[in-house]
């Protein structure tokens, strides 16, 4: 396309020497620009394109342990997807994934925002406290998961001991052993892990809000809540969009936290698309259905992402108007 246009321009101006030289130079510039793109394109193709294509290919085949060595895996069309849709676990895994994602993001964001606003006011020890709050982010997920598993133990866990000491409960809440409590339990652990991320980005966004606006609002008689509602919140919108978008991507693919704390149990109560995909592939060696679940997860994440992007863009457009 570019090639044709460049040629066209040259032809129209006739055999004018300096202009042809200019055209070649422009040409070279363009080529150079494309050359700079090559590393990025190769990187994306090798590390994102290939695995994705391979995963889609596996999901359309009868892929067995033998296929790894012989490379033979007959195409079966969408049979693996049929198997997955018919599985009684399918609905449960989708529902669990949705609940886990929405609840995690909501609470991570609200608590993260509250803390960010709190730390926006400078006070002695504020920086130290904020640094300490980052700790959950720095710990390997497997470590946090294991610690949460101990803390949530029904008999000897510190969570139940604390609840009893505060007289909030009398018995032992069966956090990880009841199918009703297990999902809330892993969500709580995941919220704790996600708060620092929200706090850091939102705090960064807050420092970008000009102090003069608050002063002006205060002069106009705006209270704390009104200042938050009419100054902080609208100005924080772009950052909010980023935080929620990244949070969505991080949360929907959470695997290690659930795997370490409950392993998808008890009785599949915490099975999400990620853990179910792992179970299918590496416990039952049903690689086709396992890959199909993985692809559904990607589709779900993309759909969510697009919907969110669109809503964020329209609200941004309205604001700038």
């Amino acid at each position: 396309m570019t090639l044709l246009i460049a040629g066209g321009v040259g032809a129209r101006t006739g055999s004018n020497r300096p202009s042809r030289a200019r055209a070649t130079r422009r040409w070279r510039d363009r080529l150079a620009r494309f050359a700079f793109l090559v590393p990025a394109v190769v990187y994306v193709l090798v590390f994102f394109g290939y695995p994705l294509a391979h995963n889609i290919s596996i999901s359309l085949r009868d892929y067995t342990v033998r296929s790894f060595f012989t490379g033979e895996a007959p195409l079966v069309g969408f049979a693996n997807y049929g198997t997955v849709f018919d599985d009684p676990l399918f609905g449960k895994a989708i529902l669990n994934t949705l609940i886990f994602t929405v609840a995690s993001i909501f609470f991570q964001f609200v608590i993260g925002l509250a803390l960010a606003v709190f730390f926006a006011d400078r006070f002695p020890g504020g920086n130290l406290l904020r640094a300490l709050l980052l700790l959950p982010w720095l710990l390997p997920l497997v470590v946090s998961g294991a610690v949460w598993r101990w803390m949530l133990d029904a008999d000897h866990g510190v969570v139940n001991a604390a609840l009893r000491a505060l007289h909030l409960t009398t018995g032992a809440t069966p956090w990880l052993t009841s199918p009703h409590w297990a999902l809330p339990a892993v969500i709580i652990a995941n919220i704790w892990i996600g708060i620092p991320f929200n706090l850091v980005i939102l705090h960064g966004g807050l420092t970008g809000v000009p102090v003069t606006l608050y002063e002006a609002a205060a002069l106009d008689g705006a209270g704390r809540w009104q200042r938050f509602r009419h100054v902080t919140w609208p100005l924080l919108r772009p950052v909010t969009a980023i935080v929620l978008m990244l949070g969505l991507v991080y949360t929907i693919k959470v695997f290690d936290v659930i795997m370490v704390i409950t392993g998808g149990g008890p009785a599949n109560a915490t099975q999400t698309l990620t853990t179910w995909s792992y179970q299918l592939s590496f416990r039952q060696y049903s690689f086709g259905p396992g890959a199909a679940v993985g692809n559904l997860l990607i589709v779900l994440a993309t759909v969510f992402g697009l919907v969110y992007l669109r809503s964020a863009r329209t609200s941004l457009a309205q604001e700038t108007r």
């Binding site: 994102f48 790894f68 008999d155 069966p174 991507v249 409950t262 008890p266 009785a267 599949n268 039952q284």
Partner: protein, 411 residues
């Protein structure tokens, strides 16, 4: 606007890349190589805990000096070994691999392994169950230097204080567990976690009662699950068995939170290191007096992948050394496993009386893949779900096992 549109779209684009990164969740890369000469081989195992890893290194060092073949060892966490072998493909295989025995048939099914008869190995003198675990389509692909199983380990002091003898039948176990439960102390601990470990702990009850993996909703199976569920519902076992793996079970026992536990011989070294703890071992209790306990057979089998003639011959020499009576005895003593050859096991039982209950059980132990082969993986997942569904009270034992049978039966 302080933070411009450009910055936010860049962030969103980055998020798009992160979506693409999801594709990586399910795929992985592996690297590795196998030498072409017969002077050195690569070996892969999953003895990654400190004590086990050190003991296995001694075995390999011994065989390295006696065979003159350099052994390059790789050690992975248990659940990563099979994916590693599968992802290696035909050109990246280790020369010698020690895999969990129920996985052997999966690996053999890939066509990656060579039959051990090619190198003159014979299964004569081995326990038939471990030979079955290493057999795929009539040929032996794997042999183990040691096997293990589950038994009932009890706290001598707590039982003496309650004035009871260690139980040998289900009724006795139930009565004793109830008697030993008081305050924060439970009578019994076992693992019913949502992985293969939970199923492995359930199978001794399942098999000892005469149930059979080809029909997991049989009356005997339902009875076994009802029995185990009953121990939890009557409070003599913590509901947390649903989240405890076998290490956690041992922790509960060592800390005195459980007076008895179902666990394997590999824990004995750890129990010995707690000076104040006096423990005893009896075979796993059986449904009625006189029944034989049937536990699931554990242990790792050595197999030789097809990596080229020179390295295969070298790997065979090393495997021969590892399976020799002498190495077998020292490895099993160091790791508290039972020798897989009957004659060596007898000597071993005499030398190590604390292991005698485990030795006695091996003769009746059953390989998990003996009956179903590769299908075991699917049945095991279904059975594990049933175990958890019944213990949480979500379904009755009968309902849970009917569901499991349906799941196991499809495709």
């Amino acid at each position: 606007m302080v933070l411009g549109q450009s910055r936010s779209t860049r962030g969103l684009r980055r998020a798009g890349v992160a979506v693409a990164a999801l594709a990586l969740v399910l795929t992985g890369c592996s690297s590795g190589s196998s030498g072409g000469s017969g002077n050195s081989i690569t070996e892969l195992d999953y003895y990654s805990d400190q004590q086990g890893s050190a003991a296995w290194q001694q075995v390999l060092d011994g065989c390295q000096s006696s065979t003159g073949i350099t052994i390059h060892r790789q050690s992975l966490p248990t659940d990563q070994l099979l994916p590693r072998v599968l992802q290696a493909g035909p050109h990246n295989l280790p020369d010698l691999v020690f895999a969990d025995n129920p996985n052997l048939q999966q690996i053999a099914a890939t066509g990656a392994l060579t039959p051990l008869s090619d190198y003159g190995f014979s299964s004569a003198g081995y326990y038939p169950s471990i030979v079955q675990a290493g057999t795929f389509q009539g040929k032996i692909y794997g042999l183990a230097p040691g096997v293990n199983g589950l038994a009932l380990i009890y706290n001598k002091d707590l039982l003496a204080a309650a004035g009871i003898q260690p139980p040998s039948t289900w009724d006795e176990l139930k009565a004793d567990a109830t008697k030993l439960t008081k305050g924060s102390q439970y009578g019994l601990a076992f693992s019913a976690v949502a992985t293969e470990e939970g199923v492995w702990q359930f199978l001794p009850f399942f098999w000892s009662n005469g149930a059979d993996l080809s029909k997991v909703d049989s009356a005997q199976s339902v009875q076994a699950l009802q029995y185990l569920t009953g121990l939890v519902t009557d409070g003599s076992t913590s509901k947390s068995v649903l989240t405890w793996n076998q290490n956690d079970v041992a922790d509960q026992f060592v800390s005195g939170n459980a007076a008895m536990m179902i666990n394997g011989s590999w824990n004995l070294a750890r129990l010995d290191s707690t000076a104040s703890l006096h423990y005893g071992v009896v075979p796993i209790p059986v449904p009625a007096a006189g029944d034989k306990p049937v536990v699931a057979l554990g242990g790792e089998v050595g197999a030789i992948p097809a990596t080229g003639n020179a390295t295969q011959q070298a790997a065979a020499k090393v495997l021969g050394c590892i399976l020799s009576d002498k190495t077998m005895l020292s490895w099993d003593k160091a790791h508290a496993y039972v020798p897989s050859k009957t004659s060596v096991a007898t000597t071993f039982g005499q030398q190590n009386p604390e292991m005698s209950s485990f030795v006695a059980e091996v003769s009746t132990a059953r390989a998990r893949t003996a009956q179903l082969g590769q299908q075991y993986a699917k049945v095991s997942t279904a059975l594990g779900t049933a175990l958890q569904a019944a213990i949480t009270g979500q379904q009755s034992a009968q309902q849970a096992l009917s569901t499991a049978q349906q799941q196991a039966g499809t495709s």
